[in-house]
Homo-oligomer: 279 residues x 2
């Protein structure tokens, strides 16, 4: 079934749109946002943006100021939600922000009560791009992927597992080693169960050890990020990349925290990085 | 009492801050946001931004992307809340979005139950700038004012009544004639009572007839704005300005609606307009 366009606003001479569709993968109704730049054509390149904990498809659309540069570069941006949604979709009974709704972690859950709906990996890698690119009339599948925090984990992990699908990847303050931090361990134990050998397929730092095909990669981190030491630990990923000679452009930003004020300050560098590889 | 800084994030090499203070004018605790550009000095110019219905001090800070240009121009931005807040502050008993909390309309109420707290005109014209400029260490009082929708009404009305206080004024999709539209008539009748002669002091279109001193003025309007005909009616203001030869730079934006996607698309033009007059 085709996505239904439920909102549209002109934005930097392009269009900011919102769609709703029934997801076969997630067994629920989903929404996603899209920026269509002026001068759009069927071979326009497309960036997939994955948001962080508690976000929906709208946070990046509203707060990053990315459309200004995407309009200049002729870049489509597709912004999915961060988890399945709606009646009947399991949530954390205590309403924790880091499990359940808004916290899908871009993985396929295998455990109850999550495994029916929480299949965000398949949704982001397969169903959403197929659907979005068909709806927009994109024919060339020139894709890049980026994200923030939990979405930075998603972008790195998905690009490392699917290097043939993405021309480039970048991440702001990503959870690079979910198996080694509280956010990731909590989510993976609930969604995937106690067998940690099942976790490694979704851990970007672990994936580096399997000698993946290199994708041009930009990793961005603010050094005043309140989650830096306990949750993010970029040094784990940087070290693993060095060990296996994986090419990595690592940029540390003095004084910046985890907020969208940080993302907005550097999104232009990321979009220009992607545009270069999407040519 | 000095405002307390309750949050700060680095943003475009400057600082996005949030302050809390006890307001004598409004008899409640208030918050406001500030962007301090890199290269700040005591004679930096300052733009006051007034937001629209339902907003707080954070909407413009998060959604307009103004900090990027303000950083380039060395412009401070002060973003107040849109109404008094907190326990004991009257609100519409039915929770309407266009009366009470989030809907102060930048006027001094004279009627019960509003008149104790709803004194946003005095707050924006006097208390807030005195406090904010002292807190930031600004010494030169080079001020401009701008806003959106209800805040566009506030900016135009306040600049027309205080031309000596502002070097320039601009407005996105302002309520130019509150006495002549449902939003304004509802708010003014509750806050000011039934005597419409008391309303005219807060109606930008009415104020033009009193032959005010000209302030450089930019009026911006999207022609796909969903509130254009019933609530905004810019033609009333444009006509009044022509009638009294008031200089007005009126820019109509084809296809743009009332959202922050519209504001973000043109905020750069507004900040450059103000910077030119703040030199």
């Amino acid at each position: 079934m085709n996505p239904e366009k439920i909102a549209t606003s002109r934005c930097y001479a392009g269009e900011q749109r919102r769609y709703r569709h029934e997801s076969d993968t997630l067994s629920c109704s989903m929404q996603f946002s899209v920026f269509v730049p002026p001068g759009f054509s069927p071979d326009s390149p497309v960036l997939y943006w994955l948001s962080g904990l508690t976000s929906t498809d709208e946070n990046f659309a509203q707060k990053a100021g990315a459309q200004r540069i995407a309009a200049q570069l002729g870049l489509v941006i597709v912004m999915p939600d961060t988890s399945p949604r709606g009646e009947g979709v399991a949530d954390d009974p205590e309403g924790a922000y880091d499990l359940g709704l808004g916290a899908g972690f871009y993985i396929n859950a295998t455990q109850e009560p999550w495994r029916r709906h929480y299949r965000m990996y398949d949704y982001i890698v397969d169903e959403l791009p197929t659907l979005a690119e068909k709806t927009l009339g994109l024919t060339h599948s020139r894709r890049a992927i980026s994200g923030h925090s939990m979405g930075g984990h998603g972008a790195l992990m998905i690009a490392l597992r699917n290097p043939e699908r993405y021309r480039s990847v970048s991440a702001f303050a990503p959870i690079v080693a979910p198996m080694s931090c509280p956010w990731g361990r909590k989510a993976f134990s609930h969604y995937l169960g106690g067998d940690e050998t099942q976790w490694a397929q979704y851990d970007a730092t672990q994936l580096l050890a399997s000698n993946p095909l290199p994708v041009p990669m930009l990793l961005d981190q603010g050094d005043a990020d309140e989650f830096l030491r306990e949750q993010l630990q970029p040094e784990r990923f940087v070290h693993a990349a060095k060990t296996c000679n994986y090419p990595l452009d690592y940029r540390v930003r003095a004084g910046y925290d985890h907020s969208y004020y940080y993302i907005a300050s550097f999104i232009e560098e990321h979009l220009r990085f992607h545009a270069q590889h999407l040519r």
